[in-house]
């Protein structure tokens, strides 16, 4: 059986957090969807709240400290990403944006990603489409067509989650699972291996390549 890794980024601020709750639902559904496709998965969660100061330090110094570096490597090294943020002032939270600001600009290229957000009312739901999706388009991530929004009222259903939200989670997880399942199994062999493997040779640099 093939194994894939999923990274979950949650920008919720309170404990417990509805953002984390949504992230967990999406994760469970994605793991299940991957299992149906014959793929086992391992999951690592990055709680941005725990890296709030690390992120501010990174902005000032230009590099992540050890703790933040581990979180970044979790995300950039994963086969799939589930990114969930609360909506503040009509957009993703500053904490969420800062995490993606400190990544290398190519770090998420072609990364299968599922976007989700929480807010107090459904009036914020389009922030997923006018704020979050453009951010990930800029990062050239491979974003699942369905994004998942949960307002406070969605958590009030009989089983804790409304039927509509449940259905949306299931659909989004299936889309992410398809993207993750479609990844090639081994990286292509490069002439130059290791870090800086893609560096042009000096002969190429001299020719202006």
């Amino acid at each position: 059986m093939t194994t894939r890794t999923l990274a979950v980024v949650s920008a919720g601020l309170s404990v417990p957090s509805s953002t984390r709750l949504l992230a967990d639902r999406l994760t469970t559904a994605t793991v299940e969807a991957l299992r149906e496709r014959g793929i086992t998965s391992t999951v690592e969660v990055v709680e941005l709240r725990e890296h709030a100061r690390d992120l501010a330090d990174n902005l000032v110094t230009g590099f992540p400290n050890t703790s933040l570096r581990a979180a970044i490597e979790t995300v950039t090294g994963a086969d799939g990403l589930i990114a969930v943020t609360p909506i503040f002032s009509a957009s993703y939270s500053g904490l969420f944006k800062t995490f993606f600001d400190v990544l290398d600009q190519d770090a998420l290229t072609s990364k299968p990603s599922l976007l989700a957000a929480t807010a107090g009312t459904a009036r914020h739901s389009l922030a997923l489409e006018f704020a979050m999706r453009p951010l990930f388009a800029y990062l050239r991530a491979a974003v699942a067509p369905t994004a998942v929004f949960a307002a406070s009222e969605d958590w009030a259903g009989g089983d804790g989650v409304s039927r509509a939200l449940n259905e949306r989670i299931r659909r989004a997880a299936g889309e992410l699972a398809d993207l993750v399942a479609g990844l090639p199994t081994a990286p292509p062999a490069d002439a130059l291996q290791g870090p800086f493997g893609g560096t042009p040779s000096f002969e190429e640099l001299l020719r202006g390549n």
Partner: protein, 385 residues
Amino acid sequence: MQFGIFSVSDITTDPTTGRTPTEGERIKAVLAIATKAEEVGLDVFALGEHHNPPFFSSSPTTTLAHIAAQTTTLQLSTATTLITTNDPVKIAEDYAMLQHLSDGRVDLMMGRGNTGPVYPWFGQDIRNGIELAVENYALLRRLWREDVVDWSGKYRTPLQGFTSTPRPLDGVPPFVWHGSIRSPQIAEQAAYYGDGFFHNHIFWPPEHTQRMVEFYRRRFEHYGHGAADQAIVGLGGQVFMRRNSQDAVNEFRPYFDNAPVYGHGPSLEEFSTETPLTVGSPQQVIERTLGFRDYVGDYQRQLFLVDHAGLPLKTVLEQLDLLGEEVVPVLRKEFAALKPAHVPDAPTHASLVAAAGGAKDATVYAGGDDVTGQAREEAEEVEAR
């Protein structure tokens, strides 16, 4: 192993007094720091090049020439020379002149410069940074090595039968280091030519340095200049010392907390863990510095940053006393004992002249009128008219 200091030439307010030195004071302070470096037995003084406030060092050759006149053994270098925005013809001329004036005590460290607005001031564009570094340096090498150069390229006017003067001292160009923090293309360039590679190794985690140095060593071997462990590596480092380590921490903290590069971010303790910054006793600096070798291998040059963030001159000179009296003598001995025989020392003018088979007068004598500089045929033409 060569030991020395490098200055970024910043003019920064002293956070403990609120006073900002004038350019004049800071320039004179750097001269005092350089001559003191020789007095206390250091080998190298290197000076940055910047063209914008808060830095004063826009004319490294003028400054280094003055220091050369006041010293006798100190090796003078740059940290860095902007190979992207300086005309390579002017670099060839300026540093050959400095080489003569300093009796060969000069080498250069090439860098691209990462301040975007500076590029257009010199007619360039930061987006071409790597290309400029490649083309300009290729021309610079030819100007020092070939008496008459015909050349055309993308970024400057062509040259026809051009001779850069003065010719390099004893027919041997200054040794060149290439400095880069993050661009593997620059490590590749250093490896291609068999030049030195310098990693500034300050303000960043050691893992960055390690990856870049490893890559340079591997490519140095690939291009046939020797084994990977024979490549020429230089490292920076940042220290602040007092005999009692808690005194060092207490005294340096306000400078750290307000420094332009990392101030208002991580704590001094966090930053000391994450980067090579060492604040403590001379013994702590010795132990930390010896540890650099564990991740970059045997290397040839260690430069410390000791004079930034508004530290007063008196304090910087005290740092140099500690470096010269207590730190460098121990490091010299320990590094030498660890270094295998096949790993070379940093090239000097003397070693480069010896490798070239001895000194030669490289002067190019013009065939023409030695007053006007006109070639003979041109002079005759003018007379005939």
